[in-house]
């Protein structure tokens, strides 16, 4: 395959709080190639949003990117080197704040957030906001930008765009607002769009419309997407490749079909099993036991071992890095689980351990029970 458009190596983002260091993103690596939709999926608290903000260097204090490398089209968005005193310092070729602001954000990499109401300014007209964005980023005159803005609104399926141009965000429905944001993201024809749960707040019917539109537009403009979501159905529908995150780490990565049909990691499997199905009646759901632990004090070894049905002693001790488990000639399919032979840590001989699976509902607040 050709060079990736965006490449993330061992990215680490931490938040330094009074209670300790929260390792929100802890060494994730993934690539995005031209013209594909890469999924980033996980439950709340998995670190999906922190990861995407890190890509644009939008993490604010007390958070900080503390390690790793982000390369976009051959340019270094983030990279560290060892300084004089052994302290890590930004590399010389890392883009400056100004370059990020003026060249990358919006123009090269655009981002769409979950809540369209919060992303639009309520006191300016929708058209005005879109026009301003195009005017600044594409150096067009006001009239040309307005024309372009109206074209974009029509492109994303806003009815009667000339008259809607002068309306305010509150006069738009949720789905319409999200369409406007997609228009805004596409307006500068960026190479990469990061979509952070853009359809989560929408109804399924509207979600379907938006996903269909995104697919059409993606074909037309050949834009790459990073699609952040917690919804496996959306992943199944729109993504080409998927990264599954759990507690700051990517624990499985595969082509979308492999992920659903050749699931490797027990967490991914559990996530799929816990979903109610629309196409058949299920009498008892099979939930994942317990709740996700805090990123401030993650479990030792494999971070999922505390909730894993397949956990053994060795899982508590060995921290697995994702490894490619696919057969030769197949697409890469990596997972971070020691139960596969490739890890060679003696999983088979290890003793199964009691997990929170036995703690039932009160898991996550188990100290009172465990203390007795």
């Amino acid at each position: 395959m050709s060079e990736p458009l965006l490449s993330v190596e061992n990215l680490k983002t931490q938040f330094f709080t009074e209670d300790g260091t929260v390792r929100a993103v802890d060494g994730i690596s993934f690539d995005v190639y031209e013209g594909e939709i890469v999924g980033l999926v996980g439950e709340s608290g998995a670190g999906k949003s922190v990861a995407t903000s890190s890509l644009l260097r939008l993490v604010d204090s007390p958070g900080e990117i503390v390690g790793g490398e982000i390369t976009f089209k051959g340019e270094t968005i983030f990279g560290l080197e060892e300084g004089a005193g052994g302290e890590p310092q930004p590399r010389d070729d890392m883009l400056s704040e100004e370059e990020m602001r003026k060249r990358i954000r919006g123009r090269e990499i655009a981002i769409i957030f979950q809540d369209p109401m919060e992303s639009l300014n309520p006191v300016f007209t929708v058209g005005g906001q879109l026009r301003e964005f195009i005017e600044i980023n594409r150096d067009l005159s006001e009239e040309a930008a307005k024309e372009e803005a109206i074209d974009m609104l029509r492109e994303v399926g806003i009815p009667a765009p000339e008259s809607r141009y002068d309306e305010y965000p509150h006069q738009f429905s949720g789905g319409m607002r999200q369409r406007v944001l997609i228009a805004m993201a596409l307006a500068c024809q960026p190479d990469l769009i990061i979509a952070d749960e853009p359809t989560t707040a929408l109804d399924v019917t509207v979600e379907g419309q938006i996903l269909e539109m995104v697919r059409d537009l993606q074909e037309k403009y050949d834009t790459s997407f990073i699609w952040v979501t917690h919804d496996m159905s959306v992943v199944a529908e729109i993504c080409d490749r998927v990264n599954v995150m759990y507690l700051g780490e990517i624990i499985e990565h595969a082509e979308v079909d492999d992920l659903f049909y050749e699931t490797k990691h027990p967490y991914t499997q559990a996530l799929l099993d816990s979903m109610p199905r629309p196409d058949r009646t299920v009498h008892e759901l099979d939930p994942i036991k317990g709740v996700m632990p805090e990123a401030i004090d993650p479990p030792s070894g494999c971070r999922f071992h505390s909730r894993c049905p397949d956990a053994r002693e060795v899982c508590r001790e060995v921290h697995p890095e994702p490894r490619d488990l696919s057969d030769e000639g197949e697409e890469t399919h990596s997972a971070a689980c020691v139960k596969y032979d490739a890890f060679e840590v003696g999983y088979e001989e290890s003793r199964p351990i009691e997990t929170e699976a036995t703690g039932g509902f009160s898991a996550g607040l188990t100290e009172t029970e465990d203390g007795e």
Binding site: P159, G175, G208, S233, L271, S274, T368
Partner: protein, 452 residues
């Protein structure tokens, strides 16, 4: 207490809702409903109502779960609140155990609330952050004068255990709990006064899928144990399919279909239900994605479409009798009419539009009308073209002129299957008010939409 089989007992209706309407004033405030005009009298006042819920009737039997589903803004929550009399109904009645809640108020109503509880969507904001969970669970008991202080504490602890929390969490504040656990506290609080009926307004939509499954399982266990009746509101059809016995589908303030769960999912009759079912994403990359997506947005409930409210987006709108077009021709006309209404295209070039929407322009009257509309567009008279197409095609359909209400014979199970769509009129076993449920005590049911 009843056995788990008690859930299937269909004999007794606990709640009967008849022709319930709830309108909201749209002209509140000092300048509400005022419009400024350039001509005399310069200012006009146009009082209008948001018709959030209109003419809704259904029964909930003891021990069953009625799922209520619909898109945001269709009036699900308003209906739930009106049923509990948290909102005053504009008209209609709600019989709870035979007594009409719409007519009582004050202390009798407050006492009635002991039997009806509600669980809200956001587990965070429905718990007082400054109260510990023990007192939170005890508060409804105190309000209804149940037990003494010690008894309440013992019951609170027992309930915490029942909903899957540790009784020792009695002294914790809500912030110490995760979202799923907070929703369990809400469950315990609702259960504390030993209600018969619980309205669950999107109780799991704020939770992660894995946690959602845990809470849904607990809710089912509690239902079996305490013989609870749920009105379960959700926008997620997968959740609805999992938990409900019967399912009601709402669109723009009206109920469009109501049937047993299997029947509704396997044999949906209303095009809106079908569209909703088609729109559910399936967690399977080989499923081929969603098909037959609806176009357009939900119309405003201030001025909803006449007749069937879904007709402006319906993929199978019925052709008016005066025309004799083939199915593809009629579909093309409908698509063209909607495209003009939405100003979907810019071009005024006749040939181009014709090619885009029609293989062949239909013959006869319909063809003449389309030609006229195309001429209007060519002259830039969009409004005239829209009016012409809308009045001669969309508004002439039976879907626009008559309110649909039919009952069809079910294919799955033996429950009644109500579908408000004129497409089923031939197969219907009952129509109009008869398809609706009969009012208890032989009271006449008002004509649907009589106050138009």
């Amino acid at each position: 207490m009843s056995s788990p089989a008690g859930r299937r007992d269909r004999s007794e209706a606990l709640l009967e809702v008849r022709n319930l309407c709830k309108y909201f004033d749209n002209d509140g405030g000092l300048f509400g409903g005022l419009t400024v005009d350039r001509e005399f009298p310069f200012v006009s006042r146009d009082p209008s109502n948001v018709r959030a819920v209109e003419g809704v009737s259904f029964d909930i039997k003891k021990g069953e779960t009625l799922g209520l589903v619909g898109e945001s803004g269709c009036g699900k929550s308003t209906l739930a609140r009106t049923v509990l009399r948290l909102l005053e109904p504009t008209s209609g009645s709600v019989y709870f155990k035979g007594e009409d809640l719409a007519t009582i108020s004050g202390e009798p109503l407050r006492r009635k609330r002991q039997d009806m509880q509600m669980i809200f969507q956001d587990p965070q904001s429905s718990l007082d952050p400054r109260m510990k969970v023990g007192p939170i669970v005890e508060e409804p008991m105190q309000a209804h004068g149940m037990l003494d202080e010690e008894g309440r504490e013992a019951r609170a602890k027992e309930l915490l255990e029942k909903v899957g929390l540790d009784p020792q969490h009695y002294n914790r504040y809500p912030h110490a709990f995760s979202g799923g656990q907070r929703q369990r506290v809400n469950l315990a609080r609702a259960l504390s006064v030993n209600p018969d009926f619980i309205v669950c307004d999107e109780p799991v939509s704020a939770l992660d899928v894995s946690i959602q499954a845990q809470v849904l399982n607990t809710m089912q266990e509690l239902q079996d144990e305490f013989d609870l009746t749920y009105l379960f509101i959700a926008h997620d059809l997968s959740v609805i399919r999992h938990i409900s016995d019967r399912v009601a589908v709402m669109y723009l303030g009206q109920m469009v279909e109501l049937a047993d769960k299997e029947e509704l999912f396997e044999n949906p009759q209303h095009p809106y239900t079908r569209a909703l079912l088609d729109a559910i994403p399936v967690p399977d990359p080989r499923s081929g994605g969603r098909t037959n997506l609806l176009t357009g947005d939900v119309p405003s409930p201030i001025d909803p479409p006449s007749g069937c409210r879904f007709r402006t987006r319906c993929p199978v709108l019925i052709q008016p009798d005066e025309f004799d077009m083939s199915e593809p021709e009629w579909s093309a006309v409908v698509e063209f009419q909607r495209a003009v209404k939405r100003r979907e295209f810019e071009t005024t070039d006749r040939r181009e539009i014709e090619q885009r929407y029609f293989d062949t322009v239909p013959a006869g009257d319909a063809g003449t009308l389309v030609e006229d509309a195309l001429s209007h567009i060519a002259d830039g008279e969009w409004d005239e073209a829209e009016d012409l197409l809308t009045t001669s095609f969309a508004d002439a359909s039976v879907c626009a002129t008559e309110n649909p209400a039919y009952e069809v014979a079910p294919e799955h199970g033996d429950g009644r299957h109500y579908a408000a769509c004129h497409r089923v009129r031939e197969a219907a076993v009952a129509t109009g008010a008869a398809a609706d449920l009969d009012a208890p005590g032989g009271e006449a049911v008002g004509e649907l939409g009589a106050d138009d």
